[in-house]
């Protein structure tokens, strides 16, 4: 007699499958939520409360954990500085930043936003990635939650009249910067490998548009899933394409453009198995620039291919140096470009609250562009455009080099958006 245990139980399999699909969807889906307003909109505040609470959504784990942690330090410094400033003003008000981890996942970003909104928080710094911003946008707009991202750059999120502000220039600027960097380096043919998300797709589009205008040729673009942890098929395809292109155009006329986050480490390691991929130069973006993961885990490979990467450049000023020194003293590390912006973002939010004498998100959203217009912070002039994004910005170009047996990021040049020109330092 066969026992029930030996039978294949279809009901159980169905249950397991349902769970599995739910887990998978939670990881990669963009839920079309029925957006409901949060419980009760906070009553309009007639005067500033004793504690101003500002939500901060950062990727403290996941692909952008290194950036998220760096920005967290900047926010903590901002909290300290702002509270000192409030004391000097003779106010007993204190600012409190509630920092939540989005795990670099759009779905988690939305969950954390909903949780903070339920607590009555109406103003937020972050999230950092465009995929996260896109996923929370509808909920934020419907509930009038003010979102100010210090690093979301996708061009298609540049929309007028919404509750999303971005204190960083969008990728139309960075796309131009990368295209100019590549052409000025003498490269006319590239194969692009990029993340298949809002940011990766957008930056690829902006780069290829400008690169073609400059006479460049995008041979092919390999799009990969942002959830992928293994890239054997993608890298093999990249090697095939680069190999053909080198035969056709020559080694010094072909390059790889990698629009990636932390997964660049695995991509570079897998690419090191193909000699041809280590013989051409690679270019990156703000997703790879100054990323600790690269120099610590794939420094040798990155230094072989240089991995020239663009990153928003704070305007060199006394204010920047003051923040830089404070950050370095506190954390024993250098601030990332987006950390400098996050620090400034905290300040313009608090200035807006002080000016309006209110924490009402609609009032703050209205006044914020005016405050930003007259604010010169550690990252430079914060002027916003009609879409509520930073109006302009220059980019530093970073590369990986080996110095004294260690792999480090070294400044290799800069791009000026005013003159659309690149200057390589050596």
């Amino acid at each position: 007699m066969k026992s029930k245990h030996s039978k294949y139980n279809f009901k159980q399999i169905f249950l397991i499958l349902t769970f599995l699909v739910l887990i998978l969807l939670a990881g990669c889906a963009k839920p079309e939520e029925k957006v409901k307003p949060v419980a009760a909109p906070a009553a309009e505040v007639k005067k500033i409360p004793k504690e101003i609470t500002i939500g901060v959504l950062l990727p403290l784990t996941g692909d952008l954990a290194a950036y998220g942690k760096n920005v967290r330090e900047a926010i903590l410094i901002a909290e300290e500085d702002i509270n000192d400033f409030l004391t000097k003003l003779g106010l007993d008000t204190r600012v409190k930043f509630l920092i939540e981890d989005t795990e670099t996942k759009p779905t988690t970003a939305l969950t954390k936003l909903q949780a903070l909104a339920a607590k009555g928080v109406k103003i937020y710094i972050g999230p950092m990635t465009s995929a996260e911003v896109r996923n929370i946008k509808t909920y934020a707009d419907v509930n009038k939650l003010l979102i100010i991202s210090p690093s979301s750059t996708a061009a298609d999120l540049a929309l007028k009249g919404d509750f999303i502000y971005r204190t960083v220039p969008d990728d139309t600027f960075q796309g131009k910067a990368i295209a100019k960097m590549v052409t000025d380096y003498g490269i006319k043919n590239v194969v692009v490998i990029h993340r298949g998300d809002a940011w990766g797709d957008g930056l690829y589009r902006e780069f290829s548009k400008r690169f073609k205008e400059l006479g460049g040729n995008v041979i092919e673009a390999i799009r990969y899933s942002p959830e992928a942890k293994e890239f054997s098929a993608e890298v093999k395809k990249l090697a095939d394409l680069i190999s053909d292109a080198v035969k056709k155009y020559g080694e010094d006329k072909v390059a790889v453009v990698a629009i990636s986050f932390g997964e660049i480490v695995t991509i570079l390691k897998q690419a090191s198995g193909y000699d041809i991929l280590m013989e051409v130069v690679w270019f990156g973006s703000d997703g790879t620039a100054k990323l600790d993961d690269v120099v610590k885990e794939a420094g040798k490979e990155a230094s072989e291919v240089k991995l020239y990467s663009t990153l928003f450049a704070p305007t060199e000023s006394l204010k920047y140096k003051e923040f830089y020194n404070k950050f370095k003293e506190k954390t024993k590390s250098e601030p990332h470009g987006y950390s400098v912006i996050a620090y400034d973002t905290a300040w313009i939010v608090v200035y807006s609250i002080l000016l309006t004498q209110s924490t009402d998100s609609e009032k703050i959203a209205k006044i914020l562009p005016e405050v930003a217009k007259s604010f010169f912070g550690a990252s430079g002039w914060m002027l916003l455009n009609e879409a509520g994004d930073r109006a302009a910005g220059d980019y530093d170009i970073w590369m990986v080099v080996e110095e004294e047996g260690k792999y480090i990021w070294k400044k290799a040049g800069y791009y000026s958006s005013t003159t659309d020109s690149v200057t390589f330092l050596s």
């Binding site: 245990h5 599995l20 290194a66 799009r223 959830e227 090697a239 480490v265 897998q270 198995g273 993961d293």
Partner: protein
């Protein structure tokens, strides 16, 4: 011998998938609990290797037995503290599945705390890759050799263990008919604990090799859950040897098949390669509900698979 990189990648990935999936099948076959925390046992192995290699600066491959042992302890603890009490209280499969999901979240949290502690000690603990710590034998990477040998050894060991030893027969008896096994004097609870313990040990062993080839994070296991389940289901879900074959179908399919398919249908398909696992689950359940063990080898391996 020169093996092209894509084949190395595919074989290593499949080997690690096979090592991790065997345990999932074993716990399901023995205790009828689909363990959603299983992949997180793999992540524990990743962090054992990081600790041994980078923090303690010991030879990398020492981490293999340590990860296995550590995994067995965790697996046994999970069974004794959570699964056994729940089964005793008559929990159904849904409750047990939710319990394993909760265990998964707890392990993920603990791993994140541990990663933060390592960070503070100056050790890069997220997105870490330890390829530089591996050895090479005439152009072949250590992990390629070790993971391949481990699979061969494990297949032989499991065959001998399950079919040629008294304890193996006791395990099979407990699977076939637990009540009768009890009457025959077999301690079924011990068999259940062994299966959880051994399964977690194998997953942790797989995880200990993982960062020698792929970058690891605290959520590495969570992202590998669909291919691990797919390997098990394609293999028949109740067949250990079928699972090994299932792991190679999934592993080679996700990399090699998708690559060759992209040559025909275009590059766009590469962005969807992770759907391969889920697609294989659907195809298996719709067309071959008993998986690979039910079609290819039913007659030949009847003795092994039942």
């Amino acid at each position: 011998m020169v093996i092209e990189m894509i084949y190395k990648d595919a074989i290593i990935y499949s080997n690690l998938l096979a090592l991790a999936s065997i345990g999932l099948t074993l716990t399901y076959t023995v205790t009828k609990v689909p363990n959603f925390a299983h992949a997180s046992f793999l992540t524990i192995g990743c962090y054992v290797t990081l600790t041994i290699t980078v923090l303690l600066k010991l030879p990398t491959y020492i981490s293999l037995p340590i990860a296995f042992l550590f995994g067995t302890i965790i697996g046994a603890s999970v069974y004794v503290l959570v699964i056994k009490p729940l089964i005793k209280r008559g929990a159904d499969i849904v409750r047990l599945m939710i319990a394993t999901l909760a265990i998964d979240i707890i392990i993920f949290g603990i791993l994140n705390i541990y990663a933060d502690i390592l960070d503070r000690l100056g050790i890069f603990s997220r997105n870490f890759l330890l390829r530089d710590y591996d050895f090479k034998l005439s152009n072949i990477e250590g992990i390629f050799l070790v993971s391949s040998l481990l699979i061969i050894f494990l297949t032989l060991f499991l065959y001998i263990f399950l079919y040629k030893t008294k304890y193996g027969i006791a395990i099979r008896a407990s699977i076939e008919n637990p009540s009768l096994a009890r009457v025959m004097g077999i301690n079924v609870e011990n068999v259940y604990m062994f299966s959880w313990s051994f399964s977690a040990g194998l997953a942790s062993l797989s995880g200990s090799l993982f960062p020698l080839w792929f970058a690891a994070f605290p959520d590495t296991g969570i992202t590998l859950l669909p291919p691990i389940f797919a390997s098990s289901i394609v293999g028949g879900f109740t067949s250990i040897f079928g699972t090994i074959i299932g792991a190679y179908i999934i592993g080679l399919g996700e990399s090699l098949l998708i690559y060759y398919l992209s040559l025909v249908v275009g590059y766009w398909i590469l962005a969807y390669k992770q759907m391969f696992s889920v697609l294989m689950i659907f195809i298996t359940l719709l067309l071959f509900p008993r998986g690979i063990s039910g079609i290819l080898f039913e007659k030949v391996m009847k003795k092994w698979l039942k």
